[in-house]
Amino acid sequence: MEADIETLAARAAAGDRPAFDALYERCVGRVYAICLRMSADAGEAERLTQDVFVRVWRKLGSFRAESRFTTWLHRLAVNEVLQSRRSDQRRLRRVEPTDDEVLLRAPGRAEVPGLRLDLERAIAQLPPGARHVLVLFDIEGYSQEEIGRMLGIAVGTVKAQLHRARRLLRARLERPEA
């Protein structure tokens, strides 16, 4: 029988590498999705996902299951993206959004439906601030207060960025050539 994620996390916390490998298999798709959608850069997303899992391995010793492992992991991934953006001078230049369909493929899916691909591309082309808020609120489901704390901005700014992101997305999806 397949062990649940909390059991795997507890075993990995005790130094069990096979359990960590199993955790990776179960969680990498979600972590990579967070990193890719927030960074809008496939190479950067790969590097960030690496960093997240290396950090998880090193920090799992403190895992005490006071909250769900996946909650901790996903927030760690968000933090990694935000920290990288703050600290990496390369991020000062505009990143080239990924337009490779393969990179946006969900596990086990043979093809990306056209509408979904358009949406993913439109998200990737949003300005970073608006994109972060949109991904965190509309896709990842964080509250506006949580997002404000994560990004170090007021809730009013979160609302403004969310509104901007949705307006830009709608414009792009309704007028693809714009």
């Binding site: 490998d21 990579y32 895992f63 927030r75 896709i139 307006r167």
Partner: protein, 240 residues
């Protein structure tokens, strides 16, 4: 007609309005086709966003790259807090709790680190001596280091894997004790005592300051070195 601000419409879509505000806005929507259309389109977009897969296929080779990085530096760090908050030193804490819950290592008072730093220095000297002697002579068995009663559960959990391996090595080492020269056994035990003293100091420091990531990292490093010594001695006791 006076239209509500667009962000207010958005709050309505996101279900963030209180009862009175909501009722007021719904009154307006019943009479305003433009705002109702705005709501419909935003909901449509929101629905499409929520339908996006939460997982995407990670690139091939990512796992191998992660494993290689872990193998390069297998030593685990210790997070400063005892729970599940994102464990990045000096970063803003996410999802509740006060920001900046952690103090960067270099900002911590040196006083808090002094016992562990002293222990680490002593440990390095002791290990150099021990390993040098082991290489030129023979090797010997060991004693176990056991956390005292009353040790916090967090600490026990951290130390358990090390203790488990140490116990296994000690069993092998005890069986091969006769192979080793008495002088080697004495030196080995002496050096293990130094390491155990360092472990004891680190545990003591962690009982006083359980969130001290630096001391927890030193505790782990000390355990790793203890295991290295035991592994080396075990190999010698087995004639390898």
């Amino acid at each position: 007609m006076h239209h509500p601000h667009e962000e207010r419409l958005q709050d309505y879509v996101d279900d963030l309005l209180c009862g009175e505000e909501r009722a007021e806005l719904e009154g307006h929507l019943a009479a305003c086709a433009a705002c109702a259309e705005e709501i419909r389109r935003t909901r449509e977009l929101q629905h499409a966003l929520r339908e996006l897969p939460r997982e995407l296929a990670a690139p091939a080779g990512l796992r191998a790259a992660i494993n290689a990085r872990i193998d390069e530096q297998p030593l685990r760090e210790a997070p400063a807090d005892a729970g599940m908050a994102p464990p990045e030193a000096g970063r803003r804490a996410i999802g509740g709790g006060a920001p900046e819950r952690r103090v960067p290592l270099l900002d911590r008072p040196l006083r808090a680190l002094r016992p562990a730093l002293a222990a680490a220095a002593l440990l390095l000297v002791a290990l150099s001596t021990a390993l040098t002697l082991l290489l030129v002579r023979e090797s010997g068995p060991a004693v176990a280091t056991v956390p005292a009663a009353g040790t916090p559960r967090m600490l026990l959990a951290v130390e358990r894997p090390y203790q488990r391996e140490a116990d296994q090595l000690n069993a092998v080492l005890t069986a091969g004790r006769e192979v080793l020269a008495p002088g080697t056994v004495r030196i080995l035990e002496e050096n293990l005592r130094v390491i155990d003293a360092a472990l004891g100091e680190a545990r003591e420091a962690l009982r006083e300051d359980p969130g001290n990531a630096a001391v927890l990292a030193l505790l782990r490093a000390t355990h790793e070195r203890r295991l290295d010594l035991l592994r080396q001695a075990t190999r010698w006791s087995q004639g390898t």
